[in-house]
Symmetry: C2
Subunit: 366 residues, 2 copies
C-alpha cells in the first residue's frame, strides 16, 4: 500500500463524511463522497445524494471548476468507468485535468471492478488505492453485501426489556421502548432498502412500517415492506397496503396470490422446507431487486431462524429499563439450542443510551 500521510487521511475522512450524507437517498447505489484538493486547500466537495442523480465526483468537479486542473481528488470509492444512468466519472476526472486520484477502495461492481482505476492510469493520472479502506467498506456494507454475496446486509432490530422479553405471552408488545428509541428506528428504516417482518407480527400489531419522521427531510424514501407469509394469510385490510411505498409478500405457495396483488402488493415465491418461506432464497431475491440493506423487525420465530441460518449481519437491540418476567416471549425462538455450548457469542460494537433505553449494536462471532 502507498504511504499516506495525516493530511491525506483527513481529506479521505472528509470524503467519507460527505458520502454518508447519501445514506437516505443513494441506495441502491453506494454512498460516495469526494474532495478536490489543490495546494492544500479544498476547492471542491461533492457526494452522491440520490440514485439517478450526479455522482460525487461530478458534484465536486462542478464546485472546483477550472481550478481542478492539476488538483488531487480524494474519493471514497473507485470512480465508475461505465455509462450507467450518468456518464463515466473516470472520463470526467481525466477531462478536468486531475493529476492524482486517491481512492479508499475498489468498487466490486462488475462494470467497474478496477476498470475505473485502469482508465485513469492509462490517461496518465496517478492513482493510489486503499486509504481508510476499512471505513469505506463499513460505510457501504449494504451495497458491498449485495454486489459480493448477492443478498442484502441484514440488520435485526429487537426491542426488549432488560430481562430480554419482546412481548407478553398474550402478544402485548406496544410499547416496550421509549419514543426516542422509536425515532431511532425510523432513521434505521429510512436508511434501509427494505423492512422485513413476518405475518405473525402483521396479524398481531398491523404495523405500517413506514418512515414517518419529518426531520429526515425529502431524501427519505419509504423502504420496501417485505413480509414473510408462507400461506398468504396477509389480510387485504392490512394497514401497510394503504401506505405510500411498496409491499412485497414472500410465500411458499402462491395459489391464492391474485386478491393480494389486486391491492397493489407484490407477491413472490421462495419456498423452503416444511412449506415455509426459505429465508436465504427470499434475501437473494431482494438482492436481485437491488436491495442493499434489510432492516428486520420480526418476532422471536423469524429472529431465531435468521440467527440459526447465519443470516444476521448485525443486531440492534433496544433495551428498555423494565423487567417483564416469565410470562413473556423471548428474543429468539431456538428450539435446537439445548446446551450452554449452543449459545452464540456476540461482538458488541457500541452501547449508546437513547432516551431511557440502551441501544446495543453487535455482530455474531463466527
Amino acid at each position: 500500500m502507498p504511504d499516506f500521510n495525516a493530511t491525506d487521511n483527513a481529506y479521505m475522512a472528509r470524503a467519507l463524511e460527505l458520502a454518508e450524507r447519501g445514506c437516505y437517498g443513494a441506495h441502491p447505489n453506494p454512498m460516495v463522497g469526494c474532495v478536490i484538493v489543490r495546494d492544500g486547500d479544498i476547492i471542491g466537495e461533492g457526494w452522491h445524494e440520490r440514485a439517478g442523480g450526479p455522482h460525487a465526483e461530478i458534484n465536486a468537479l462542478a464546485e472546483a471548476g477550472e481550478a481542478a486542473r492539476g488538483a488531487a481528488v480524494f474519493v471514497s470509492l473507485e470512480p465508475c468507468a461505465h455509462h450507467g444512468k450518468t456518464p463515466p466519472c473516470a472520463d470526467a476526472l481525466i477531462d478536468a485535468g486531475i493529476s492524482r486520484v486517491i481512492v479508499a477502495m475498489q468498487d466490486p461492481f462488475p462494470a467497474v471492478a478496477g476498470q475505473g482505476i485502469r482508465k485513469l492510469r492509462d490517461a496518465g493520472v496517478e492513482v493510489d488505492c486503499g486509504l481508510l479502506e476499512e471505513r469505506a467498506e463499513e460505510l457501504n456494507r449494504g451495497y458491498l453485501s449485495r454486489v459480493r454475496r448477492g443478498r442484502p446486509w441484514l440488520t435485526l432490530k429487537i426491542a426488549a426489556s432488560l430481562d430480554g422479553c419482546v412481548a407478553m405471552a398474550n402478544g402485548e408488545s406496544q410499547w416496550i421502548t421509549g419514543p426516542e428509541a422509536r425515532a431511532d428506528v425510523q432513521r434505521y428504516r429510512a436508511r434501509s432498502g427494505a423492512v422485513l417482518s413476518g405475518i405473525g407480527t402483521v396479524l398481531a400489531d398491523d404495523p405500517s412500517f413506514t418512515v414517518r419522521d419529518e426531520s429526515l427531510g425529502d431524501a427519505a424514501r419509504q423502504p420496501l415492506r417485505v413480509i414473510l407469509d408462507s400461506r398468504l394469510r396477509m389480510p387485504l385490510s392490512a394497514s401497510m397496503l394503504d401506505q405510500p411505498g411498496d409491499t412485497l409478500v414472500f410465500c411458499a405457495d402462491d395459489a391464492n396470490r391474485a386478491p393480494l396483488e389486486n391491492t397493489g402488493a407484490k407477491v413472490a415465491v421462495a419456498s423452503g422446507a416444511d412449506d415455509r418461506v426459505d429465508l436465504l432464497a427470499a434475501l437473494e431475491e431482494l438482492g436481485r431487486r437491488e436491495i442493499n440493506a434489510v432492516f428486520a423487525e420480526a418476532g422471536p420465530g423469524i429472529a431465531g431462524s435468521l440467527v440459526e441460518r447465519g443470516l444476521v449481519d448485525e443486531l440492534v437491540i433496544y433495551q428498555a429499563p423494565h423487567i417483564m418476567g416469565s410470562e413473556t416471549a423471548p428474543m429468539f425462538r431456538t428450539p435446537r439450542w439445548t446446551r450452554l455450548a449452543d449459545r452464540r457469542e456476540l461482538q458488541v460494537l457500541e452501547r449508546q443510551v437513547i432516551g431511557d433505553d440502551l441501544r446495543i449494536t453487535a455482530r455474531l462471532r463466527d
Copy 2:
C-alpha cells in the same frame, strides 16, 4: 441547613472517602470517616476499620494529637454518645478541645439518634449537620436499612445473557459471565454481611459462596451463607458446610433440623404461606442478627418472589455478550405478571463494562 462552602464540601468528601475503606470490615457497624482540620490543614484522618476496633473519630484524634485543640472535625456520621464496645466519641471530641463538628447525618441508632450532637452542643462545641447528607445516606444504606426498617439492604445479583437468560432449561449455567465479572461478584460478597440463595441453586451447582479473592486482603470476612430451604433438603455433603464462615438455613418446618445442625450449620424457621419460607420474616431475622447488607445470588423463583414482594433494594445485573435462545430459564419467575402493565420499571444507576460483560446497577421504581 447551615451554609457550607466548597472547602467544607471537600473535607466531608474526604471523610466519606475514608469511611468507605471500612466497606469490608466495619459491618455490622456503619462505615464512618473523619477529618480534623486546623487553619485549613488536615491534621488528622481516621476511619472505622473493623467492628470492635476504634471509631473513626478516635483514629483521627490520635493522628492529630495536641493540635486538635480548637480544630474542626468533619465526620460522616453523628459521633456516638453511648458506651458500646468503645467509649463515646462525643466525649473524646470534647476532651480533645474540638471547637466545631460538622456531621454529614444523624445516626438513627436508638442509643445515638441526636444525643451525640446534643452532648457536643451542651459542652459548647459548635455543631452543624447535613453536609453531603445524601452521599452519607447512600454509603451506609445497609446499616440504615437495618436500623430503620429492621431488615438488611438487599442487592439482587443476576448473571444473564444479552437475551436475558440465566441458565439453560437443563440447568446449565456455569459460566455465563466472564472472570472479571465473577471477581466483581467476590467484592460484592465481601462487602455484604450475608449471601442469600435457594436450595435449588445448592442442589444444582453446589456453590461455596465464599470470598476467595486474595486481593481483598485481611479485612474481608466470609459473609454468612443464607439458604432458603423450606423442607430442609440441604445435603449434609454440601460444599459450603465445609467452608470457613457460617451457614444459616431458613426452613418452613424444622422437624428434621438435627442432622444439619450437627454439621455446624444454623437452622431457623420462617414459615409463610404454602409451607414456603417467608421472605420478609427471613430478612427480619437477618436484621436481628445484625446483617446490614444481603447479596442475593438466587435462581428465577426467588428472584421473582423477592421482586414481587418489594424486597429488592438494588439489582446488579451482569450481562454477557451472548444469546442463549428460548430453551432457557428467565431472570425472574413471575407467574402473576400476565399483562404488559404488570412489568416493573427500573431506574438505572450505572452501566459499567466489566471485562466482556456489562454490569447494570438499577433500582425498582415505585
